[in-house]
Amino acid sequence: MQLAEISSVSLAFLGSGGAGVISTGELLLEAACKNGWYGLLTRSVGPQIRGGEAAAMLRLATQPVDCHADRFDLLVAVDWLNAQRFALEMPLGPRTIALCDPESGAVPEFVRAAGVRVIELPLKAMTAANPEWRPNMIALGAALRVLGLPEDAARAAIENRFGDKGAAVIVASLAAVKGGADAVESGVLPARLPAPAASGTARWRISGNQAVGLGAVRGGVRFAAAYPITPATEILEWLALNLAKVGGALVQAEDELASINMIIGGSYAGAPSITATSGPGLSLMVEGIGLATAAEVPIVVVDVMRGGPSTGIPTKSEQSDLNIALYGMHGDAPHIVVAPQSVSDCVFTAQWATYLAEAMQIPVLLLSDQFMGQAHAAIDRPADVAFVGQRRIARDIAGTYRRYSLNGPNVTAMALPGTPGGQYTADGLSHSERGTPSSAASDHRAQLDKRANKVHEFDFGDHWATLHGSGEIAVLTWGSVTGAVLEGIALARTDGIDVRVIAPRLLLPAQPERMAAALGGVRELIVIEQSHGAQFYRYLRAHYHLPRNVRVVNSAGPLPLRPGDIYRELTAERAA
């Protein structure tokens, strides 16, 4: 039978703590990528530090993918303990295949209810017969066979991962993979992922958090201060290792009040500086960010958003820190807010953020989220871009140095400690041109103008947004939701519905002229975002002229939006 070809396959490994399903997902992603496919791996875990139920969710594809699909094609359960908790995160259907061991408990309700076809994989019996086989390696082998990949595809990945555990572990793992592959038949999936077209560009496997770290270093960052918080920690850990390679350093701070102020100190001393946090940490940093605005010290602050408010859901995604990023500062505090749209875009946006911070001597907030931050993706190597931070530095100083001079460009040359004649006191108090504290209305207004104007007159260029299509219906979205939106409108196009997508990468300052041009001819607007309070829609209302006909699709986290959700919104609109 000739199987239909599809462009992506979605599968999940499920199991309770210690079953190793997350690392199995990572091995499969690596094997599939080596085979030439692209892919996306996210994980969902229980709240336990160890031993919690876990799921590795993968989508393998013939082209880069930035979101999960609408259905899982394959479920491989190492066990079903507490699997019911994934019911909402794991859309299944009658075409889904589940591989599981009847001895590891009853198939959960959500799996049965979806009409999933269950195929037995006798893990317990196999490990009883071969005590050195691990169930997750058997599961990996089974998945490879179902996907039509040779079991050898995982060899390099396994050797890589278990290299330090000794040859016996590698041999046993490879044997288990082979055993798993032989335990299932190929062709059980109703469709087949074709071999990928050879791509000319180099490909990477990278997480969004790593990508932010890399982009920042490419943009010139050489100093970081860190207070760990899920799901941002990986950025800091990547920087700890890699800043050291490029002549930079990371310091662990005692809290976020310290980390934000440490990078202000480091940047004042001349090093392009960054910190990364999540919502609770951002709340603590806000006063410091305002100081960086007032004292005109460039910094980059990454917020990897998670469910909020308060401690919220540390391990799951939401786009609900937009308000604090835009409006969190007291006073009139110009700053920049940017948001990457995919794992790959994290490299570019972090690099650009660093460039913008240095160019305008201003704090830049980069809003990533847990979904893309912790996702591992196989992508084409992001293009090199020329954005490298260039700060205006005062070097040979003759006469009175005016750090905040009002004669000349609004971005004023900054003297670095050690420069003779450049001594000034950076101050969060309203100040004069020299930095001297002043409560005079004239100084206050002049410096407010200076700080606002340096942003207004800056040309942000085409990178301000992703623009796609030209229909009279437009979707406005942002951040990691963009991936699902782009796939959703591609589906709608097959129904003959032409939809335009506008996804601003630059959220602050607003770009009214560019947005007006992007919205030209749009009759209907759909705003799609992942926040309970429709924060993005309210932001758009505050800053832009929107068409009269606007619909808002705002769903709280943590469930990701999927292409089908977008497609249904677009087609429901037509049907109505």
Binding site: V246, N261, I264, S267, A295, P417, Q423, A426, G428
Partner: protein
């Protein structure tokens, strides 16, 4: 005494042209004098010194000097100084703060700066009060001080910052009195010269909200014994003294923290290698 070579700098070289706005009589005037004299004695040019503070009357010092300065937000002087010193270890970095700024809102940073032991000097102008906001109690205020915010007093025991500094790992601990300009100057010179984190608590009267502190000048006296390098002994002495022993009380020999910077820097493309498939 013999004629020494004329030092390169005078105290006035370290003073800016901005007139301080402290209340006349405030101890902080003395501290400013002592800092500028100490800097002159240390002999580094003003541009190689950075003075970092938070918010408070005491924290106004940076702009009154002719050094690089950072007047940050309330409580965060130490982290700013930390970032600065990490990036520019060649700079002499001095934190000037108050008992509210340094011990209360910035208390956590105080502990960790002592523990981190970066080569910084922290000068606290302790007046046992929040001067700038009109006289509320700080962590070093006596329990029975009647204030508008705490009628009848806080009823809370003040803490002992010197012992906390010792317990947290500060490498140099001294107490000074603002009015003793000469001694304060030499303690500051000593503190800046000593490697690692040096902590100098200066009793600096607030004449406006604590006029009773005018009597401090008759209460202070030199510490009867020399500094020790044993933190336990130093702590015991400090916990049993009358709070007015002046001098260097502890001089440790912990290795200062130096952050690890990579070498000259590899090619950025090397960082990509881990991602390549």
């Amino acid at each position: 005494m013999s004629a020494e070579p004329k030092p390169a700098y005078k105290a006035s070289d370290f003073k800016s042209d901005i007139a301080p706005i402290w209340c006349p009589g405030c101890g902080d005037y003395h501290v400013l004098l002592s800092i500028t004299r100490a800097l002159a004695q240390l002999g580094k040019p003003p541009e190689q010194v950075a003075i970092v503070s938070g918010i408070g009357c005491s924290s106004r010092i940076p702009a009154y000097t002719n050094c690089y300065g950072f007047h940050g937000v309330h409580g965060r002087a130490l982290p700013i100084a930390t970032g600065l010193k990490v990036i520019r270890p060649d700079q002499t970095v001095i934190v000037t703060t108050g008992d509210g700024d340094g011990y209360s809102i910035g208390g956590n940073h105080f502990l960790h700066a002592c523990r981190r032991n970066l080569d910084l000097t922290m000068i606290v102008m302790d007046n046992h009060i929040y001067g700038m906001t009109k006289g509320q109690p700080s962590p070093t205020t006596e329990p029975d001080l009647d204030t508008a915010l705490t009628p009848g007093g806080t009823g809370l025991r003040p803490f002992n910052p010197l012992v906390i500094a010792l317990a947290s790992g500060a490498n140099f601990v001294a107490r000074a009195f603002a009015g003793n300009i000469g001694q304060t100057t030499s303690i500051i010179v000593d503190a800046v010269t000593h490697p690692g984190f040096s902590f100098v608590e200066i009793l600096s009267p607030c004449v406006t909200f604590r006029p009773d502190q005018r009597s401090w000048k008759t209460q202070v006296h030199p510490a009867p014994v020399d500094a020790t390098d044993d933190p336990a002994r130093a702590a015991r002495r400090i916990m049993t003294d009358d709070g007015f022993n002046l001098g260097v009380l502890y001089r440790g020999n912990r290795q200062p923290y130096t952050p690890k910077f990579g070498g000259s820097g590899c090619d950025l493309s090397e960082l990509e290698r881990e991602f390549e498939l």
